[in-house]
Symmetry: C2
Subunit: 189 residues, 2 copies
DNA sequence: CATACTAACTAACAAGTGTTAGTTTCAAAA
DNA sequence: TTTTGAAACTAACACTTGTTAGTTAGTATG
């Protein structure tokens, strides 16, 4: 039904390899071997190694930004917004295990698109922080340092791609619920 | 007083470069330029690029393991042990901002020492998990999934190296206190 | 003075890098 | 049947990679 092109296939395979060794350590010959073809044949489908990285990272970054904008514009409580952010990360990470590795670890190897990526990321973090600060004003959230709260939540959410594959028995819904419990209510009894 | 050798200087400079671009993307010529010498001159002091990575990562991994063993053998409560783990991470990360980047992102490029590193890491996570499971048995910790608790705490702690340099106004003590509050008691009011 | 050590240098090598040009194969469309 | 297009190939390029060999200058030690 959805016609997966050869180009998409190459990008997916590249993302897998990037996850294990990082962008710089993966050669076009590695990628070609994984595809069962010669390195030069890759260039019938893609323009450059850079372009593969760009395709992986930018689409994901834009997906996160779009999700955040949607959450931000809702009228929900701060707590509901935070839960929605958790669900956003669980969903995108589940659907893009390999790509998330590049997003987290290889963004610095973007060239032309580096500035754009950094702008998206900064905007995302700004929006995230604003939600927490609002919750603090509303007295929904305790008076701890909002930046530490965001840092703690965000780093956990950014590492989901490492953890989800090891816990296949836990579906996305349950994972989001459990994470919300731990991140929001803490572990203290 | 402590005589910093040329070798140590090279390793520190390498760690800085590795933090920004990753092990694979840093060439021996990059490193040499940063040191103000030629690439071949590096080999008067170090054996190989691999050896530099090994020196950075293994010493840190062993420091974490030693710290965990100390905490584990104490008679403190589960909560105290968790706070001690947070302090351990804050301390080591503060003192090794650059090295922590390699430990987190470049461990897969270890060759001879990869197996040893993985053994240390697995042991660390096992010990961490045991502390949490004990706390659950003692009813010190709520009945959430212990693995999710560990995952959440550990990923936050592993990312400290990214965050500490941006918050120089916060000293190690205060950071550890704030983190304990957020990680253990949650953000809910 | 002679020796040894430290730390730099130049020059080079063999292997690997991303990429290009030009060609071939084969199935679908005209 | 001819044409077109997708997708592979071989061969090669210019450059970069980690590393080695051999040498030189300065400085401390015997």
């Amino acid at each position: 039904m959805k016609p997966i092109t050869r180009k998409e296939e190459i990008i997916r395979t590249a993302a897998k390899l990037f996850k294990d060794k990082g962008y710089s350590a993966v050669t076009m010959r590695d990628l070609a071997t994984s595809m069962g073809i010669k390195a030069s044949s890759l260039y019938n489908h893609i323009n450059s190694k850079q372009d593969i990285l760009k395709a992986i990272i930018i689409s994901l970054a834009e997906e996160f930004t779009a999700g955040m904008k949607l959450i931000q514009s809702s009228n929900d409580s701060c707590m509901s917004k935070l839960k929605a952010i958790i669900e956003l990360h669980v969903r995108i990470s589940s659907e893009n295990i390999y790509g998330m590795a590049s997003l987290n670890n290889d963004w610095m190897h973007l060239e032309d698109q580096l500035e754009y990526y950094l702008k998206l990321r900064q905007g995302y973090e700004d929006d995230f922080l604003k939600i927490i600060e609002n919750g603090k004003s509303n007295a929904e959230i305790k008076a701890a340092n909002p930046e530490i709260i965001m840092f703690s939540m965000l780093t956990t959410l950014r590492s989901l791609y490492l953890w989800i594959p090891k816990k296949e028995d836990l579906n996305a819904k349950d994972l989001a619920i459990n994470l919300s419990e731990v991140l929001i209510h803490g572990i203290n009894k």
